[in-house]
């Protein structure tokens, strides 16, 4: 809302500058984006072109002698309309214009001591410019006083505050509302609005009918004016519209906008001769068509409220009028509409079709008293400035309540919520300044009568806020709540995981969950259904990710493009799914590793499958799943984006919780490894408390065992066989070498284990260990055809 301070001064006396006013309004909750002069240009003066010759070295420039009052200036001007005798706006040497600072100089050999300005050069927005303003200098009336300030002369010496209002304060979308707010701040009186006009002795109800056939219109007033004279608006109306951001058109249309600005009540003017003596308000028919003022044919829905002439739609209620009944240069007679429509319906329609100055006001809710006020004000102005003859009486439909809202509140309640001790008289003074009347029910209870213009105040808490706003809360002394102490809780496991991953050398990322459709389908096998946004900002981010890995791949590519080659990343975050029209989300941990990995104090090593597997194992061990997980190859369950020969499912308690592997070369040429674990699924698997396990006092015995097996045999299976046959003496088993080639038959490999034997209550004998080793060798031979490597 752009507030013209000249406009609001009609209704309240303000004796502070525009910045102070803006700051004081901010203190009571009304923020602003900008506050300052409407025309920011400086050092302007009215001049008269005394002489105007063609520039000797140019085919379009003129050399002018301009009288600016105290002197005559030589100015070079390029405008086609410059000529002797014109009164013009001159920017003097040093003038600051929106386009830059004017300096005297030489233009093609001719001295130029300023600039003759167009309206555009003063910084007025393009939409306010007439065609002539865009091509030439501004021509002032011939009686304009030379040497004076042209901005004052044109009555454009306005100051404007561009407010960024909160959604609840629909009342401030009017000059009157602003006047009430300002009057509360400075404790001033709001002046009366002039609603006087003369009516003829005709009766509108004899020739015109209003019919409302929907509950979505609670008030509809119509008045008729005759024999209007359409012309340009007086300067003050034009300038105030411009200051408020509305383009002036002609006196009649401008008055409808002027009254809307003044009262907050949007009006609509119909050319009375295009109506059939009737207006009907109803809901639109499905697919009903209407050409609006802007010439666009709109296809309507049954949720749109329309104005009809009894046969067809002629206006989109509260949003925009129809082309057929609009005010034209030839309009003589006008029907004025002042109405209240259902805010939610207007909001929905305007969201689909168009946000207009009118719809913005309708959707915030209106004061029905203003609905009457506005139509009378329109008659007043039309009579004054468009020569209108006002037809007697009013056609109306009115289901609104005009009375104030009464709300009870106690002094104690106010102070308790604000945490202050404000005097009773100071509290009552706030309501008085706001223009709310009140009664004291007893010593403690105030009954406040809230005028309808303040539709935002409906409960006692709203009245507490008003005290906070107007009295101020700067003096509140902060304290901590007087509540019993207790221990706070947070998710220690997730934080532990994050710390663990950082310890393991990975950098944590934070990526967008919105990806494109293709990315959303990657790295999942079953969850190919995707959740898409109804109204995305771009194609590239229109889908919720099903996996974090595609996000990590993008981050990898971003870094690779910047020559960062060693990349080890992880992210803990959400990924989403859609299943049979049900939507949901899970928390995942995902990681991506490529390039070199730094193994503690040892040397760096190229990342391979086993390194990232080590990360996963360390993480699972950390979370207490030691001995309960395995890596399972099931080709039909693996996502297509993983290398089929270097990938696996991560399984805990024989239940798949994640995937691990090298990214398929089809997806990425680089050697990149990833894993992803569904943390919700994993952490649901209970683990016991961390407990000390007694360390054997007796020495353990290490034995090496190299077995020759089929090349395809998996180490995990061999280990299981060894464990099974070793029995309880075996305390640890580790692979320390895998070898193929010379000395090993074709199609076979040698795999070497280091076995640790131990018993907690005594020292093992050689004989016991030999028996165990023999059992392992025999068992392995029988179960998996393993031979002892000699």
């Amino acid at each position: 809302m752009k507030l013209s301070t000249n406009f609001v001064k009609d209704y309240v006396d303000i004796d502070v500058d525009v910045k102070t006013l803006a700051e004081d309004m901010t203190k009571v909750g009304n923020e602003y984006d900008e506050a300052g002069k409407l025309i920011k240009a400086t050092k302007l003066v009215i001049g008269e072109v005394k002489e105007c010759e063609m520039h000797p070295d140019s085919d379009h420039l003129h050399v002018c002698k301009v009288d600016v009052g105290d002197k005559i200036l030589n100015i070079v001007c390029g405008a086609p309309n410059v000529r002797k005798g014109l009164k013009v706006i001159v920017a003097l040497d040093g003038a600051e214009l929106p386009g830059g600072i004017i300096k005297k100089g030489i233009i093609r050999g001719q001295e130029s001591n300023g600039m003759i300005c167009s309206i555009a050069e003063l910084g007025l927005e393009n939409k306010f410019l007439e065609e002539k303003d865009k091509t030439g200098i501004h021509e002032l009336p011939l009686d304009a006083p030379v040497g004076e300030d042209p901005i004052n002369y044109m009555k454009m010496d306005d100051e404007v505050i561009d407010f960024d209002l909160t959604a609840n304060r629909g009342d401030l979308l009017s000059i009157l509302g602003m006047a009430y707010e300002i009057s509360a701040i400075y404790d001033k009186k709001v002046k009366d609005i002039d609603l006087s006009y003369d009516e003829n002795n005709e009766n509108i109800n004899k020739e015109f009918k209003v019919e409302v056939n929907t509950e979505n219109c609670t008030m509809f007033l119509a008045k008729k004016v005759k024999n209007i004279k359409i012309e340009g608006s007086p300067d003050f109306i034009r300038n105030r519209l411009i200051a408020s951001g509305i383009r002036p058109i002609n006196n009649v249309v401008d008055i409808s906008n002027y009254v809307m600005l003044e009262t907050g009540q949007p009006l609509h003017f119909y050319d009375a001769d295009t109506l059939n003596g009737k207006i009907e308000v109803r809901m639109a028919n499905d697919n009903e068509k209407l050409t609006t003022l802007d010439g666009i044919e709109r296809v309507l829905k049954t949720s749109d409220i329309v104005i009809s002439d009894g046969n067809k739609a002629i206006g989109l209620a509260g949003v925009m009028g129809g082309l057929e009944t609009e005010i034209t240069e030839n309009t003589k007679n006008v029907i004025i509409e002042s109405a209240i429509f259902n805010p939610v319906k207007i909001r929905m329609t305007s969201k689909d079709i168009l946000r207009s100055e009118a719809s913005i006001r309708f959707e915030k809710g209106l004061d029905p008293n203003r609905t009457y006020m506005a139509i009378e004000r329109a008659c007043n102005l039309l009579q004054k400035y468009a020569n209108a003859e006002v037809v007697g009486n009013i056609a109306k439909y009115d289901e609104e309540k005009l009375e104030n809202r009464e709300i009870e509140i106690s002094f104690e309640n106010i102070n308790k919520i604000l945490g202050m001790e404000i005097d009773k008289k100071d509290i009552l003074d706030v309501y008085r300044r706001l223009g709310f009347s009140y009664n004291l029910k007893d010593d403690e209870i105030i009954v406040v009568s809230v005028p309808r213009r303040r539709g935002d105040i409906t409960i006692k808490e709203d009245l507490i806020e008003e005290v906070g706003r107007i009295y101020g809360v700067d003096n509140i002394v902060g304290k901590l709540p007087n509540i019993p102490p207790k221990a706070g809780n947070y998710d220690k496991v997730t934080r532990g995981i994050r710390n663990k991953m950082v310890d393991l050398g990975l950098n944590e990322t934070l990526s967008y969950i919105l990806v494109n459709e293709n990315e959303a389908k990657m790295f999942t096998k079953d969850d190919k259904e995707i959740a898409m946004l109804l109204d995305p900002m771009s194609e590239d981010r229109n889908t919720l990710r099903n996996s974090i890995i595609p996000s990590l791949l993008k981050i990898f590519e971003y870094n690779r493009a910047r020559n960062v080659e060693d990349v080890s990343l992880f992210e803990i975050g959400k990924a989403f799914y859609k299943k049979n029209e049900e939507y949901g989300e899970n928390t995942y941990i995902s990681a991506l590793m490529t390039g070199n990995y730094y193994l503690g104090i040892e040397n760096k090593k190229k990342v391979n499958f086993y390194i990232i597997k080590g990360i996963v194992e360390e993480l699972l061990d950390y979370l207490g799943y030691s001995g309960r997980y395995s890596f399972v190859v099931k080709e039909d369950k693996m996502p297509d984006e993983l290398h089929p020969g270097q990938s696996a499912l991560i399984s805990v308690n024989n239940d798949v919780v994640g995937i691990i592997g090298r990214v398929h070369p089809r997806v990425l040429k680089d050697d990149v490894y990833v894993f992803e674990i569904n943390l919700d699924k994993l952490l649901a698997k209970k683990v016991g408390k961390m407990k000390y396990k007694e360390i054997s006092k007796y020495p353990s015995v290490k034995k090496d065992l190299a077995l020759v097996v089929d090349k395809e045999k998996e180490a995990q299976e061999i280990s299981l066989v060894i464990k099974k046959f070793a029995g309880s003496l075996l305390s640890d088993i580790e692979v320390f070498d895998v070898y193929e080639g010379k000395g090993i038959p074709e199609g076979k490999k040698s795999i070497a284990y280091s076995l640790t034997f131990e018993k907690s209550d005594r020292t093992l004998t050689d004989e016991e260990i030999n028996i165990a080793m023999e059992k392992i060798i025999q068992g392995a031979e029988k179960k998996i055809g393993a031979m002892l490597r000699k």
């Binding site: 915030k364 509140i476 040397n603």
Partner: protein, 345 residues
């Protein structure tokens, strides 16, 4: 005999003194004090002495022996020291050569901020709770006093995926969940950090961002409690001695509502580019929980009151680490991420 011993002593001392390394010293030790050494031989030869002479000679031998041992030990010590010095010299390395890198990862700056906020509020007895990011309209809006068609919904342009499901626009959604899930309708003291989403993308807005929400519901909770709590929060995160300013505002789920400005921590209120010369920076939205919100989620507004606040964590991270473009937080340039690997002191 006495003369002989004196002679041995002289010779031995000379040999010990003249030895130039550990081996020569050891040779001298064996030559005089060993089992077959010359001084040892004197003791053995005492059998030929008279009983009167024996103690005198024995005593003399012992004195000389002790003297020599003492000298040898001193000399040995010297040699050991020399040897150690030599060895240390030999082992000297170029300590300016680069170290063997021990690389640790790093936490994302936003998560560092979240952890810091969590730790602070946990220490004041708050529980950290989370809620879904894919939220229902009911929890994100309706239960927060924002019915469908409410004009304030414009404040937050949302990403819907169906008419009912959307990406949450505010962590306030967790407020309603916490109240609904509390079956006894007992007091609540929570913060809810998390990701939020709005249709907005530029240098200061990201369509995905993070917020933390705080909610306290108990008896007699007032604006003064809110102010005191936020003072602790802001001063811990941004600097001691910062002042707060409550500016009336509007949020559908609080009444009264306040935007909270903090005195500029860069210029200490004098006015600079960060605070746009105003001396104040807007950091939080807050207020007293709206009675409709309490009612809708099962709390009796006559019995309980509460305060709620929310703030953008991205901005907090940007302030704290001097990051000027929010998009840096989401680009995940490894060179950026790696910077956040030290302890914050």
């Amino acid at each position: 005999m006495e003369e002989k011993i004196e002679n041995i002593k002289k010779l031995a001392i000379a040999e010990i003194e003249n030895s130039s390394n550990e081996k020569e010293l050891n040779d001298a030790k064996i030559k005089y004090l060993g089992k077959k050494g010359e001084l040892t031989a004197c003791l053995r030869g005492m059998g030929s002495l008279t009983p009167e002479e024996r103690p005198v000679i024995g005593n003399l031998v012992n004195i000389v022996k002790n003297k020599l041992e003492e000298m040898i030990e001193k000399k040995e010590e010297e040699y050991r020291k020399l040897e150690l010095d030599r060895k240390l010299r030999e082992e000297t390395i170029d300590i300016t050569l680069p170290s063997t890198k021990i690389k640790r990862g790093s936490k994302h700056p936003l998560n560092r901020i979240i952890e810091e906020v969590e730790d602070l509020f946990v220490s004041m007895g708050y529980d950290v709770v989370t809620g879904p990011e894919l939220e229902t309209d009911e929890y994100c809006f309706e239960r927060l006093n924002l019915p469908k068609g409410h004009p304030a919904r414009d404040m937050q342009d949302s990403f819907y995926i169906t008419s009912e499901y959307l990406l949450r626009t505010q962590t306030s959604a967790v407020q309603a969940r916490a109240m609904m899930e509390n079956e006894e309708k007992s007091p609540i003291r929570i913060i809810c950090p998390g990701k939020t989403y709005r249709r907005d993308d530029d240098a200061t807005h990201s369509h995905q961002f993070s917020q933390v929400e705080g909610l306290v519901i108990d008896k007699d909770i007032s604006l003064a409690d809110l102010k005191g709590t936020l003072e602790v929060f802001v001063r811990k995160m941004l600097g001691d001695n910062l002042q707060l300013r409550f500016r009336p505002s509007y949020f559908p789920f609080t009444e009264p509502s306040y935007e909270v400005d903090v005195s500029c921590f860069k210029c200490e209120g004098k006015g600079c580019s960060l605070c746009k010369q105003t001396g104040w920076i807007e950091v939080l939205g807050s207020g007293i929980v709206h009675p409709n919100v309490l009612k809708m989620n099962g709390y009796d507004p006559e019995k309980y009151s509460g305060f709620a606040f929310g703030t953008g964590l991205d901005r907090l991270a940007m302030f704290k680490y001097g990051i000027t473009d929010i998009r840096l937080l989401y680009k995940n340039d490894v060179r950026f991420l790696k910077q956040f690997d030290r302890c914050d002191r």
